[in-house]
């Protein structure tokens, strides 16, 4: 079986190298065909456009009868991808895996996952909340992340002003809300962490009682 696994993976790598249209790349790590790095460009018309995303791929012993293990190496701001670990929540990597799927087709599925987030089945609860509360602010944050981590070119206006995203922007929070608490004397890092957890964005800013925030900051 392991022979068949090697043959298949080698064939997949060859086929992927031949295919120039899909823009998917597959590279072995240390010539090991069972540990690879896959990469693809962020899909157009999304906050991830222009970014280049790398994925760590581990081919299990029983491949293709067991799903391939994939996680993002590039940090991604996306409801179904853990912002911390890069772990991915996608059905075909779990119970909907089929041995007919390939490394390439799975990477293409990841690419389309970037196009169509499934916030109801999130991997990263905080990001999912952000996505559901304030789409505009979510898109901006995702774009900041793409620029900071996935080498996406900064927006034109930003380039003119030479502005680099602030830590508040990277967390998808408004500078105004962060400032409000740092001026009370709380350390900036802590404020950002707490506001992020409380999803202090959009309408939540107006509705959340001040006490709740203070309690979280003091705990």
């Amino acid at each position: 079986m392991s022979d068949a696994r090697l043959r298949r993976v080698q064939k997949e790598i060859r086929d992927c190298a031949k295919d120039k249209t899909s823009q998917i790349s597959l590279e072995m790590i240390d010539e090991n065909p069972f540990h690879l790095i896959g990469a693809f460009p962020g899909p157009p018309d999304t906050p991830y456009e222009g970014g280049y995303y790398e994925v760590d791929i581990v081919v299990p012993d029983a491949y293709p009868f067991q799903p391939v293990k994939m996680k993002f190496i590039t940090k991604v701001y996306h409801p179904n991808i853990s912002s911390a670990s890069g772990a991915i929540c996608l059905d075909i990597l779990k119970d909907a895996w089929s041995p007919v799927l390939t490394l390439k087709s799975t990477l293409i599925s990841l690419q389309s996952l970037l196009c169509d987030p499934v916030p109801n089945d999130p991997q990263d609860a905080e990001v999912a909340k952000h996505f559901l509360t304030d789409r505009q602010s979510f898109n901006a944050t995702a774009k900041h992340w793409a620029q900071a981590y996935a080498q996406a070119p900064a927006r034109k206006q930003a380039q003119v002003s030479g502005k680099v995203a602030t830590d508040a922007e990277m967390a998808g929070l408004s500078e105004e809300s962060v400032k409000g608490f740092t001026e009370m004397g709380f350390p900036r890092e802590k404020v950002i962490q707490v506001l992020k957890r409380l999803n202090y964005r959009g309408n939540v800013v107006n509705t959340m009682p001040m006490d709740t925030v203070m309690e979280a900051l003091l705990s």
Binding site: A96, N120, P122
Partner: protein, 525 residues
């Protein structure tokens, strides 16, 4: 052109036509020897008929509706032709005889055969121009082989074949003959075609491939690896078609559609061999036993095979018991000892013996015959079960204060060591039960206890693939399990993640990722 010139040109044209036909149809066309050098040529054609798609067929019989039939391949038509010396220029080929044989009979009537043969002369006449005819056999062959003649002669009407059963043979035999001819042709066509296996990406001949009921095709070695792994790991769901569409259909199927994509045991045996097929059967039985409350598990610790209910009990409707003993199910006995103590009256001696046969079970694997209620060897219908009194005794013992006279009396009667052992066992069981109840939830489908280590509250049972909510235990729709967390006002609204889980995310975000280390458990989620 002189007469002999014409004959010579016809001879050459005939030879060319026969050579061409032979190069296309090979052995289906034979030239008969002509030792006496008579004018003209005798040839035999055997034309297999292949319809463009599987076509339902009705037989001319009142019981035809009970014999469903779908055909792509019809038995060949054999015709012997005399090509006159002046064919193709001045005469059509002359059919000598024709048959549409199926074993000893003919599946087309004599009249239809005549019509089909007659068409050849008609076709030849249609091609005549400037007083000279054309070669016509290929065109006629095509017209027969594609089944075009069926429509022309009213045998194929509105996409259904109307076949008349030949006299002297029973309709069922005719049906079987047509069906087996079709199956044999389909099979040999499959075997001689090359398929690209979508698992190993290699091209293989049909002889080493298999087509599943969903019509997906894989090579047998790949399917063998796939199913062997699934059977060894006990994931019955995966002993089915591995194509992404079929997998998706299974993953999102609703309850009650468990038979989707199930593969019959014969196919499984042909792919994985007898031993694994037997194990698959066992697993399936056990799975059924886990879900079906009428099944029980053989109480012998070395056997543990699933035991189905006796066949007659399924037909009997439960008779209302007027004065007989209260029927106690096995589940009642194992639930809690407390209720046992309260509710367990010894069945009166007037027990209805008819009822007790319901409790008789025979293990199909080890042949142990036992009582469903008490798990002891079958004690016959006349004897009541010897119910285990252990917990009753323990509770009685514990109800007396330590060092009391009652306890001392019990100790004398049953042995102090024994009682202490029973108490220890009882406490351990209680603790286990409490732990199970506080730390696990039952699956809404099969009741197996599930412990959540981390992740969201949407659970998919590893065993029966039911979807359920870990918070409230409700079973969820497989097609959209997350809908449960989106309805404002319900207790689980926006509770897909517990607060602890979100804090865990926070911690991870704080720690960040370290090199190549995979966070433990993330993948299992």
């Amino acid at each position: 052109m002189s007469h002999s010139d014409i004959l010579e040109s016809c001879r050459v044209r005939q030879q060319d036509e026969i050579l061409t036909l032979q190069s296309i149809y090979g052995e289906l066309i034979t030239v008969l020897p002509n030792p006496s050098q008579k004018a003209g040529t005798l040839i035999t054609l055997s034309i297999p008929i292949v319809l463009p798609s599987a076509t339902p067929a009705d037989l001319s019989s009142p019981i035809s509706s009970s014999l469903p039939l779908e055909l792509t391949h019809l038995p060949p038509i054999t015709i012997r032709l005399l090509l006159p010396a002046n064919y193709p220029a001045h005469a059509p080929p002359r059919p000598v005889w024709m048959k549409a044989s199926l074993q000893q009979c003919s599946w087309l009537s004599r009249k239809t055969c005549g019509q089909i043969a007659g068409k050849m002369a008609t076709m030849w006449r249609e091609e005549v121009s400037d007083g000279e005819g054309m070669e016509v056999i290929f065109r006629w062959w095509d017209w027969v082989a594609n089944g075009d003649f069926l429509e022309e002669f009213g045998i194929l009407v509105d996409g259904r074949l109307k076949l008349s059963v030949p006299p002297m043979i029973p309709v069922s035999t005719f049906h079987t003959l047509l069906k087996s001819h079709n199956a044999a042709q389909v099979h040999s066509e499959f075997q001689s075609t090359a398929y690209s296996c979508s698992i190993c990406f290699e091209n293989r001949m049909g002889t080493s491939c298999i087509q599943l009921p969903c019509s997906c095709i894989f090579c047998t070695p790949c399917l063998n690896s796939c199913w062997t792994l699934a059977i060894t790991e006990g994931s019955l769901e995966n002993v089915s078609c591995p194509s992404p569409q079929c997998v998706k259909t299974r993953a999102t199927r609703s309850d009650g559609q468990t038979s989707i994509n199930y593969i019959d045991s014969e196919t499984i045996r042909s792919v994985v061999g007898e031993d694994l097929e037997r194990r698959w059967q066992e697993l399936r039985e056990r799975r059924r036993a886990e879900i079906d409350p009428t099944y029980t598990i053989c109480p012998r610790s070395t056997c543990q095979a699933p035991v189905p209910p006796p066949p007659q009990s399924s037909q009997d409707t439960p008779t209302p018991v007027v004065s007989g003993p209260r029927i106690i199910r096995l589940a009642d006995l194992t639930r809690t000892e407390k209720t046992e103590e309260d509710q367990l009256p010894t069945p009166p001696p007037t027990a209805n013996t008819e009822d007790r046969w319901d409790r008789y079970r025979l293990c199909p694997k080890c042949n142990y015959s036992f009582c469903l209620f008490c798990g002891n060897g079958w004690h016959g219908v006349h004897l009541p079960c010897a119910f285990p009194k252990t917990s009753e005794i323990v509770l009685e013992y514990l109800s007396y204060s330590e060092g009391s006279e009652e306890r001392r009396r019990m100790e004398i009667r049953r042995g102090k060591m024994n009682l202490e052992k029973m108490v220890r066992q009882y406490r351990e069981d209680e603790e286990n039960k409490q732990w199970l109840e506080s730390r696990t939830r039952p699956c809404s489908g099969c009741g197996v206890r599930v412990e959540k280590s981390h992740g969201c509250n949407h659970m998919t049972c590893n065993r029966c693939h039911s979807h359920f909510c870990y918070r409230c235990g409700l079973s969820l729709s497989p097609s959209d399990p997350y809908a449960h967390y989106r309805h404002p006002g319900t207790s689980c609204f926006e509770k897909l993640f517990d607060p602890e889980e979100i804090q865990r995310f926070d911690r991870e975000a704080g720690e960040g990722m370290v090199g190549d280390e995979w966070p433990r458990g993330i993948w299992e989620w």
